[in-house]
């Protein structure tokens, strides 16, 4: 009978598992092990900084891929990716008309993975615009803007505008012909406004045409001003999704 009281021998796998997940350092970071009971899974979502944007439980129709196609989440993911790659780009880039273009050339030629970094930032920016537009279409066609979500739809429209502005301000930074003339064309359109057209254009460019002042303004807006503003609106957007009772579903 004494046999039964002896602890079963640990397998090799268990030993490795314990070594990785049951040591002092790991447990100081993750206080509990893998959440394998419903109660612990809910706690994991509710108590983790990153996961707590979610509710702990959601309606089963909303986890179907075909309901949201993850488009809002992916827009946000693009924003995160752009922030990471953007910060890395800032290490190499100086927003002056003497250095900007050269910095980009050197980034591409001399920095390890520099070209890849720039490509990622560029293509993610394009992807984000497309994803935001598709997200708007999915919200529209599922009728998810209806009460009580009116205001969150408006927040969404603001997010769309901010996304475009972020991309537009970034477009000037490489200071090549593409950048220069695209911004010239774009700001000329602003200048044609019937009221305050010339004034807005002047404010945006810090002058009458695209030059050093425009570059520093676009840079500042691109790396700090607009990201801050869009983060605030995103926070409100996500909060409202929760406050409005999760995603829309039929009454």
């Amino acid at each position: 009978m004494a046999n039964l009281e002896r602890a079963p021998r640990k397998s090799f796998n268990d030993l490795i598992y314990d070594l990785i997940f049951k040591n002092y350092v790991w447990q100081s970071i993750f206080r509990t092990g893998y959440p394998n009971t419903p109660r612990n899974q809910m706690l994991a979502v509710a108590t983790n900084v990153f996961l707590h944007l979610h509710p702990t439980r959601i309606h089963r129709t909303h986890v179907k891929i075909t309901h949201t196609y993850c488009l809002g989440g992916l827009s946000f993911f693009m924003f995160l990716g752009l922030t990471v790659t953007g910060v890395l780009l800032m290490f190499y880039y100086v927003p002056s008309i003497e250095r900007a273009y050269q910095d980009i050339q050197e980034l591409e030629a001399n920095v390890r993975f520099g070209q890849l970094l720039r490509n990622m930032h560029r293509w993610m920016a394009h992807a984000m615009i497309i994803l935001v537009l598709l997200h708007m279409m999915r919200v529209f066609y599922t009728g998810a803007y209806k009460p009580p979500r009116e205001f969150n739809w408006v927040v969404g429209v603001v997010l769309f505008i901010l996304t475009l502005l972020l991309s537009f301000t970034g477009y000037l930074l490489p200071w090549d012909q593409l950048a220069f003339w695209a911004i010239t064309v774009g700001t000329t359109m602003v200048g044609s406004a019937p009221v305050l057209g010339d004034e807005s254009k002047f404010l945006l460019l810090g002058g009458f045409s695209v030059g050093p002042n425009a570059l520093i303004r676009f840079y500042t807006l691109h790396v700090i001003g607009l990201p801050l503003v869009i983060s605030i609106f995103m926070a409100v957007h996500f909060w409202r999704v929760r406050r409005d009772g999760g995603l829309a579903r039929p009454l």
Partner: protein, 299 residues
Amino acid sequence: MVSRAAAAIRTRPRREREQEVLVWPDLVFIEFISALIFSIALMVLSAMVNAPLLNRADPDTTPNPSKAPWYFLNLQELLLHMEPAWAGVIVPTIALVLLAAIPYWDRDTQGQGVWFGTKFAGRLTVFGFTAATLITSLLIIWDGSLHVVWTENIIRGLGLNSDFSWPGGLDWFRNLRGFDTGIPWESLGFTIGGFTMFEDWRAIPLGIPGTTTDPWLLNLNFPSFLSQQIIPVATMVGLPVAFVVFCKMLGWIQTRRDIALLIFSAFIGVYLTTTIVGTAFRGQGQDLKPPWDIVVLEE
């Protein structure tokens, strides 16, 4: 009157806990996988296609064509067909305000949370999108005078008339500006009771001299006003109205949601068409060209 907050709770569906699943693992897993797929796809794309970098910016050499970033090319496309103030500022502002206003106008809580929630939603979407795409393309072709080129080529090609050219009497139908340049406005004045009315359509006195220096406000150039403002704006207002009336006659429209579906889909059609034309079909001097014929010159 119930408070908005109370109304917001009331318009929520009842919570059905038995129908709920746990965010961990069900949703977190999907999010993780989709993020992974996107990361890999973007990595692959970035490894294969380089972001463009042209010559250093030079204010003295203008590329022809000069284009805004692709997501503004729909507006740049509009610019070719109307007064810049409309295309660049007023139209987009109105479009965004209307877009934001949709939920304040279509407030019925029925049909939310399901794809294409009304009976005719599918038809309205397909019709709105297709018809708007077609009509926009036709309008662009017309304003690019392609119908003139095509007609001339066909008639010449068939050997009907080897030196046929577009009849002068139809000059007004060459393109939008035809309403300005193709009509003999000079001879359209008339006399009532000894007064000659509209002797000069190109300078109809409006303002009181001395109150403004803006010649446009002093003297209205009616033919140009007609082709650059009245016709474009009437088209942008009239077509959506016509769409709604047409679908109403077919019995497809029963609620505001239906109207919203129709107009939104049409909007997406116009948005896409103008973006694509602006991006891929505009060559030097913003002429209509097939994509393979477009080269950028530096001048």
